[in-house]
């Protein structure tokens, strides 16, 4: 049972664990994108958290969650090219906006921010659930937050992470209909979508560091 207050410091730790999780699994992410895309997803995501590092360090100690989420957003929106970088940036931006100026992140703010982030990503990227993209991890995460009611934020995030991983595992059986993999027809089937994994890593990092993907991609 985690303490119910999710303040600036805890948000900073969340961002720090996200970076650790990305670095730890970068090679596995690369391997996934080599099978289903062009192999640069691990590098792209790592570039994002690397760019976020100094921005997070510069946030004042007294700051609230919005400023840490904003630092992530700026890094991913402004420093990472490719497809996934700016999409992650849109999610962080929406979550930061929903967090507002207050000292704590509420379950309500998480719910709103994730929903708005999902909407922005779908507006810009035009993917529907089932198209085998990061939407297939983010949509279930948003649903879990929607169903979390008045649960403490950390519990709500743990539930969102669970659902995101379930979504990731489902992408393995989907045929890609968006992005590069779609031009190859059947060839990408069987491989989970790397972008979706990235989303699950983010929510998981709210409660702990992920050091290996294998156990989470494995069973059902």
């Amino acid at each position: 049972m985690t303490s119910s207050a999710f303040d600036g410091e805890r948000t900073r730790d969340w961002a720090g664990r996200f970076a650790e999780s990305v670095y730890a699994t970068e090679a596995e992410l690369t391997a996934l994108d080599q099978q289903a895309g062009d192999g640069d997803f691990g590098a792209n995501l790592a570039a994002g958290v690397r760019a976020a590092g100094p921005l997070l360090d510069r946030v004042e100690a007294s700051a609230g969650p919005a400023e840490y989420l904003g630092a992530l957003a700026t890094a991913f929106l402004d420093e990472v090219g490719g497809t996934s970088g700016p999409l992650f940036g849109l999610l962080f931006q929406a979550m930061g906006r929903a967090a507002g100026p207050g000292p704590e992140l509420t379950t309500q703010a998480l719910r709103e921010g994730t929903a708005e982030g999902l909407a922005a990503i779908r507006r810009v990227g035009d993917a529907s659930p089932g198209d085998k993209t990061l939407v297939d991890a983010l949509a279930p995460a948003a649903d879990a937050l929607g169903a979390a009611g008045e649960a403490p934020p950390a519990d709500a995030l743990a539930a969102a992470a669970e659902e995101a991983w379930r979504g990731v595992r489902e992408t393995a059986s989907q045929a890609a209909r968006m992005g590069r993999a779609s031009y190859l027809g059947e060839r990408a089937t069987g491989v989970p979508d790397p972008g979706a994994v990235g989303i699950a890593l983010f929510f998981s990092s709210a409660v702990g560091t992920v050091r290996s993907l294998a156990p989470r991609l494995g069973g059902d």
Binding site: D40, T83, P86, G89, G125, M178, G179, R180, S182, L184
Partner: protein
């Protein structure tokens, strides 16, 4: 790596752009900090700035088409990677005119997303912005591809026509309507007999068994959905042309503009051979070939192959096409 002449991994695009800027300093300016190229001279009547961009490795696309009568600016990304939304946002601000800025975007997820995010930022900044999406690749015309057809060779033709239209003072809405209509009247097919070599390794992106062609190949080293046996260029061009005509069904008032495009390392001898066959097939089908370009216009690094683009064009389109243009890669 051994194969590529460069100063080190990741330097290829940056060094090329600075050389390009010096080589064409009379025509373009290069903003190295923000990574975009703008035209030095544009028609005073132009009310809307035209911006394009996309991954590098497709030269002369896009920076080669920046100049009088065509693009106001271009954002080159890394090799085969979408430009960054910030790059696009800043370039858009630099080329925007009172009537706003038009994005000419090839239909790839990364490009759509980054141009899309830039557009949201431009709206925030109070700059009018609209998009023409280029999606001419017949090989990706399938129910199963929700992403839609890829954008390829038609980009050059659209940029030329839209440039001439913008020079008449046409507004954003008019340009979107013209460009979108025209994009629907362009189709392309590409074949390759050998892959490009990856700059990082110097190795081919894929290996084809001898005597096989990748049929319907893209311009990022992604393989086609199918291969076919090598045939005579006459047979091949006939099959491709008929497929394009079937998809386009040019009207009785239309003639076609053809682009015979080298993907990188196909020889000029072969491209003119292709053009000769194309001319014969169009003659036989009673389709009037009004204009044509033969050369390397939209490449995929050093891929060995060619693409055929047909655009069904009415009189007004031809007039725009014929208007003078002066850019590093296109001039008349």
């Amino acid at each position: 790596m051994a194969r590529y002449f460069e100063n080190g991994a990741g330097q290829l695009v940056a060094d090329a752009l600075s050389g390009f800027a010096r080589a064409h300093a009379d025509l373009v300016r290069y903003d190295a900090a923000d990574g975009f190229v703008t035209a030095r001279h544009t028609a005073p009547a132009r009310r809307v700035g035209l911006l394009s961009g996309g991954g590098s490795g497709h030269e002369p696309l896009h920076a080669g088409y920046v100049g009088t009568g065509m693009l106001d600016g271009a954002c080159p990304g890394r090799v085969f990677a979408s430009p960054h939304n910030r790059q696009i946002f800043r370039a858009s601000r630099a080329v925007a005119r009172p009537g706003g800025v038009l994005h000419i975007v090839k239909n790839y997820t990364g490009d759509r997303i980054n141009f899309g995010i830039a557009a949201e930022r431009l709206a925030d900044a109070g700059i009018a912005c609209a998009r023409v999406l280029v999606d001419d690749d017949l090989a990706t015309d399938s129910e199963d591809i929700a992403a839609g057809r890829r954008g390829t060779g038609a980009t050059v033709l659209l940029e030329k026509v839209l440039g001439a239209a913008a020079d008449t003072g046409m507004g954003l809405d008019g340009l979107v309507e013209l460009g979108t209509g025209l994009a629907g009247r362009c189709r392309t097919l590409a074949v390759a007999s050998a892959a490009h070599h990856a700059p990082a390794t110097g190795e081919p992106a894929f290996v084809l068994p001898p005597g096989e062609l990748e049929y319907g190949v893209g311009i990022h080293g992604e393989r086609a959905a199918r291969t076919r046996e090598q045939a005579t260029v006459g047979e091949l061009v006939e099959e491709m042309t008929d497929a394009l005509l079937k998809a386009l069904r040019p009207g009785s008032q239309d003639s076609v503009v053809a682009l015979v495009n080298g993907l990188g390392s196909v020889t000029s001898l072969e491209l003119y051979g292709v053009f000769g066959e194309l001319g014969r097939v169009l003659d036989a089908r009673g389709v009037r070939l009004a204009r044509h370009l033969v050369g390397d216009y939209v490449t995929a690094l050093d891929m060995r192959g060619f693409s055929l683009t047909l655009m069904a064009a009415d009189r007004a389109t031809l007039d725009f096409y014929d208007a003078p243009v002066h850019t590093p890669a296109l001039r008349w």
